[in-house]
Amino acid sequence: MSQPSSDPPSQQPAPSGLAAESESTPVVRASFSMQGFMDGWLHCQHVANYLARFASSDRFDPEQLTTRLSTYLNEALELVFRSAPGPGQLIVTIHRQHDRLDVALACPIAGDDRMRRSVRRATEADAVATYRRGFAGLLITPPASEDLSEWEADAGLLELVALHGITLALHEAGDALVLHMTVPHE
């Protein structure tokens, strides 16, 4: 297992599009150097678990909310990891609203277009039908190693929309891509 990076906290400013994310104060806003994040696959789940627990504290049933939020956040972080964006910062911001959590995940724009493609596929009409069709196809293909099929790489986000009721959106903010996830409380 790779150890967490010992890079000092980056002094780089946040990607410009984040400043106007919301008028309210986020419950958590964490930034990680991409280099440190990319050091180890397990960083995805460590970051997801920690931020989910933090954002769920002092809520009704924090264990349930932690489990759900970590599950969703982890899929998004895995996508960032697989997209292998260049140097810069990964910034995760979570706002608590009365009926939902708003999660924004900003990262440098990657060389490939994987993130845009995944979000586009996940937000097309009738995500449920798309997911079911694609999932059935996956079962008859052998498991892949490093290079996942295009569909399998996208399926994590698509499942969040199709089965878990998460709303996704993506926008560009200067030199960063910002993935927005809306997580209903129940």
Binding site: W41, Q45, F60, R68, N74, P143, S145
Partner: protein, 397 residues
């Protein structure tokens, strides 16, 4: 659990069960290979039903979900005669969604939501009608229990867990009286928890952590709490030993587990005691059909002793019309009557003649409470034990 290997996979041959627990978030097929290897090997070696125990699989990324689905597909092709039973818990919120979807695709697989089977009477137990019963009960028992809790070792500033907290009113009283450092209250009823949090908010209390959970498989860490309570709850489960093991696990070495339970057949009212006794004997039978043992109170001493608790202490609270506000006591019995001759009788299919006789018995009990010359009792058994310090031979998990 090892942070670099945050999941476990074990095969229990005796049960034909592969248990996967923890956080299963592989990066690729190579990462998943150790799990797949176990699954494929077991599927080839057994006949009948393969149990996949996923109750304690808290996290599973989509990649792992796909790999598990591929294993089901492998079984469908290679072992078409093999049945697969996926055992999950509703406490893990994504599990019913994902695995429910898988069973749509694989007719050879079924999902068993284990905690639904474990809480057979829950639909009856969590009815709105029961809330006033529980509140009144807590009120009159608390007068006796406040001092008993001290006697059994509860002190201010402790870390406390109240398992099967029901509507949460005991946790609120305990919070006010003992000012614990931490108090976590767990129940498997969402309506009760909603009610509990609403009451806590109304009282301006925001530092009780309410948690939806399965008492037989808690998400709480081991060796965490100084004082673990579970009141009037073992009696509503058919496998109380599973809960006892979890209470023991989350309790710190040197901490105490505190239990209360009833012996319903010892409820008594004089005069007309034959009618009263028949009614409670019949009520016990009705609860038993839902898997509940309303006579477990005196058995707690052996439950604690058998699990290795030290310094086991046990006594009885006798709620009587001589030591309790008569109208409060009468109201409890009247609310029992309403609930047992209504919802419980319907749920257990009692004929009208039995319902009428039950009603008469409850009225006779209330008569004994209110009568100037009558005597009525409702006994509650209280027990606690100290968790021993771990030894090298028996480490706690």
């Amino acid at each position: 659990m090892d942070p670099a290997q945050p999941y476990t996979v074990h095969y229990h041959e005796n049960n034909q069960e592969v248990a996967i627990a923890g956080s299963l978030r592989p990066r690729d097929a190579d990462d998943f290979a150790p799990v797949r290897e176990v699954l494929v090997r077991v599927a080839a070696a057994i006949k009948g039903t393969l149990y996949l125990n996923l109750k304690r699989l808290r996290y599973c990324n989509h990649r792992a979900f796909v790999e598990l689905a591929r294993f089901l597909e492998h079984c469908r092709r290679e072992h078409p005669e093999l049945r697969l039973k996926l055992v999950i818990s509703s406490v893990i919120p994504w599990a019913p969604i994902r695995f429910g979807y898988l069973t749509e695709l694989f007719p050879n697989a079924i999902v068993e939501q284990y905690d639904r089977a474990f809480y057979p009477g829950q639909g009856v137990i969590e009815s709105d009608q029961l809330i006033p019963v529980l509140r009144t009960q807590t009120n009159i028992v608390w007068d006796h229990e406040r001092e008993l809790l001290r006697k059994h070792g509860l002190r201010p500033g402790m870390r406390v867990a109240d398992i099967c907290c029901g509507i949460g009113d005991f946790a609120v009283l305990l919070h006010k009286e003992f000012k614990p450092e931490v108090i976590v209250a767990v129940d498997h009823s969402r309506p009760f928890l909603q009610y509990a949090i609403q009451v806590a908010r109304e009282f301006g209390i925001n530092d009780i952590e309410y948690q939806y959970g399965d008492a037989a498989d808690l998400l709480l860490a081991s060796n965490t709490f100084d004082f673990v309570t579970s009141r009037l709850s073992l009696q509503v489960f058919d496998q109380p030993e599973l809960i006892m093991r979890e209470l023991l696990r989350i309790c710190k070495p040197g901490g105490r587990v505190y239990l209360t339970n009833e012996m319903m057949s010892h409820n008594y009212g004089y005069p007309r005691h034959e009618s009263v006794s028949w009614t409670y004997a019949q009520t016990m039978k009705m609860f038993a059909t839902l898997g509940m043992d309303l006579s477990i109170g005196p058995k707690m001493y052996s439950l604690l002793t058998d699990l290795g608790f030290e310094d086991v202490s046990m006594e009885q609270i006798g709620i009587t019309n001589a030591n309790t506000v008569v109208e409060d006591f009468a109201r409890v019995i009247e609310s029992w009557e309403e609930y047992i001759t209504g919802e419980l009788s319907t749920a257990t299919g009692q004929p009208q003649a039995i319902v009428d006789r039950l009603k008469a018995g409850f009225k006779d009990h209330v008569y004994a409470i209110r009568s100037r010359r009558g005597f009525a009792i409702w006994p509650i058994f209280v027990a606690s034990g100290r968790k021993p310090a771990p030894t090298r031979e028996s480490p706690t998990r």
